[in-house]
Chain length 348, copies 2
């Protein structure tokens, strides 16, 4: 079949924070679109938005919505993906899913294009976009692993509220104002909207992202652990994670400890790998206080790495500080990049 030059693209969850970033990126990157279909829940259907200078009416997402759709980008929550992604596939679309619904399924590739692009070719209709904290970590670690091997990862995260959605952003603003005005802070949402207790996030740190599993780890922590092994194709890799929600709006930061396999690796060797890596920017010069922060990485597409240093006791141990915009590389951008790769490599 001759390859198309423009595609019918559906965005499911078009009114959400990630959905809107996806639409913005499709425009900015001149994604080859024949027809765009913006889908949402019944509640948001009927709204009109401007896409590529045309007014588009948002429609309610239904199984029939996916007739004639080539690529469907889902970011409307796990239950919508579970219900509608198979319907989209049945009608011939390739789904790129931003939820955790299919990530650990064996026949679903879990992809960060800089890391395991070739896995896209193996798809059976659904390709999963990894968790935001996982994406930026594996993007930074892949070049190091390829060059020197890595057998141990211990990460502590510093995660922005926007990862919990637009309402969490509002909650941080409201609580910050309340506290600065000497009022009691009202907590209605975080750490997890569906969980029993809510704690203030403003001027605080919450060591819970997503609900707890029976093993004492949160789902967010287990996502980082399991997804990292799957994306890096290394079931033997040791991965530990502690995930913490913090009072900033955009970008996740990560304090990452790794142990490499090779002897005599120097900080300079790791710098060199990071400098040459796709999608990664090295910002690391203690002498000039150069390191990435959540604010400096916001609205940027790359994964930023700083504070690379050798462990004092373990010659094979290294510490890194990894920061990226959680809504861009951590979500919308990675989704669009998968779609671009699908087309470029004729893997639709």
């Amino acid at each position: 079949m001759a390859q198309k030059t423009a595609y019918n693209v559906a965005v499911v969850g078009a009114t959400g924070a990630v959905g809107q970033k996806i639409m913005q990126l499709l425009e900015e990157k001149n994604f080859p679109i024949n027809k765009i279909k913006l889908l949402s829940s019944k509640r948001s259907a009927g709204k009109k938005v401007v896409f590529n200078n045309n007014e588009v009416t948002i429609e309610e997402a239904k199984p029939e919505s996916f007739e004639d759709v080539d690529i469907a980008l889902f970011s409307a929550g796990g239950s919508i993906s579970k219900a509608l992604a198979p319907e989209a596939v049945k009608r011939g679309a390739v789904v790129i899913d931003n939820t955790s619904a299919y990530r650990m399924e064996e026949n679903v590739p879990l992809v960060v294009p800089e890391v395991n692009n070739e896995d896209i070719a193996e798809h059976n209709g659904i390709i999963a976009n990894p968790n935001c904290s996982t994406i930026q970590m594996v993007a930074a670690l892949k070049p190091i692993k390829d060059a020197f091997g890595i057998n141990r990862i211990i990460v502590s995260t510093y995660q922005a509220v926007s990862g919990a959605g637009a309402q969490a952003v509002e909650e941080l603003k409201t609580q910050s104002n309340q506290h600065l005005n000497g009022e009691e802070m009202e907590a209605n949402l975080l750490p997890v909207s569906g969980d029993e207790k809510h704690y203030p996030i403003a001027f605080n740190a919450l060591p819970q992202i997503d609900v707890f599993g029976d093993n004492g780890y949160t789902f967010e922590e287990m996502k980082m652990i399991n997804e990292t092994k799957k994306i890096l194709h290394d079931a033997e890799l040791s991965v530990a994670a502690t995930c913490v929600r913090l009072p900033f709006f955009t970008s996740h930061a990560e304090s990452v400890y790794i142990e490499v396999e090779q002897e005599n690796v120097r900080v300079e060797d790791i710098w060199k790998q990071l400098e040459n890596a796709n999608g990664v920017v090295l910002e690391d010069d203690p002498k000039t206080q150069t390191y990435p922060t959540p604010l400096s990485a916001a609205d940027k597409e790359e994964v930023f790495v700083g504070r690379v240093r050798r462990d004092i006791d373990n010659a094979k141990g290294f510490h890194l500080w990894v920061v990226s915009d959680n809504l861009l590389k951590g979500a919308a951008l990675n989704t669009v990049q998968i779609a671009q790769s699908l087309i470029k490599n004729n893997w639709l």
Copy 2:
């Protein structure tokens, strides 16, 4: 010599954040004071404050200030301690120093009373109070180390701005208001007042506390590494630290990974040690979302521990979340507790 029943106590840095907390604790704990002497820089001298219902005039700290002083509590910065602590000792006072000036000196005990109280007996006039982040970590780990051995610690910190002084607290407030009002944030102080560059802390995270050393670690990180080994009397212990300043006012939190020496240690065994430990409170129940946070630990004297869980890959590895008020147990309270122990054990 018969022991006194009340002591002449000097507080050096009486107008600072820690100095004020020290005075408050001396009052609250009915510290046996004969005469209090409040000392400060020339600039603050002459101010009057109320202590134990008496008005006390703050005096400029000079060598002669320490005549007749039994116990001198220093928290006015390293250069003041370097200049005046020896003068106080020469005049017969025992100095408890809250700065980093003497911490790593061989003949100066570095003490957390719950951990190495007996070291106080070895003093030669000066006892050092450890770094705030170190104190809470060793308080939580000592009972675990005693019971099961620990040979590896990797910590990532989440530190409050009050650790950088009262001006940093004001900077966080000002910047937060600026950002919430859509104004540009002005950064004049953090991460380190004396360093070249300043970055906003509000709605951000700064992976720099204190200045950088030549090895790429900050002084704060090296303090945690070196002080932990000294307090725990274990030069062979592997310790790694990444220290991050965050936009909250009070309490430091720490994501701590440890490796124990004994086989077959269970989370329940660690819980039991923490439950029975002096000055430590276990707050750990994922089912009820129970864990400490900076806000929940603020204004409390104990070190709070939650999120205890076994590493998934290393049966001897455990993760903990340790939180404590950085101005209380991290500074003023630990200082007062050392003074109490000096008296109680007749170690003056």
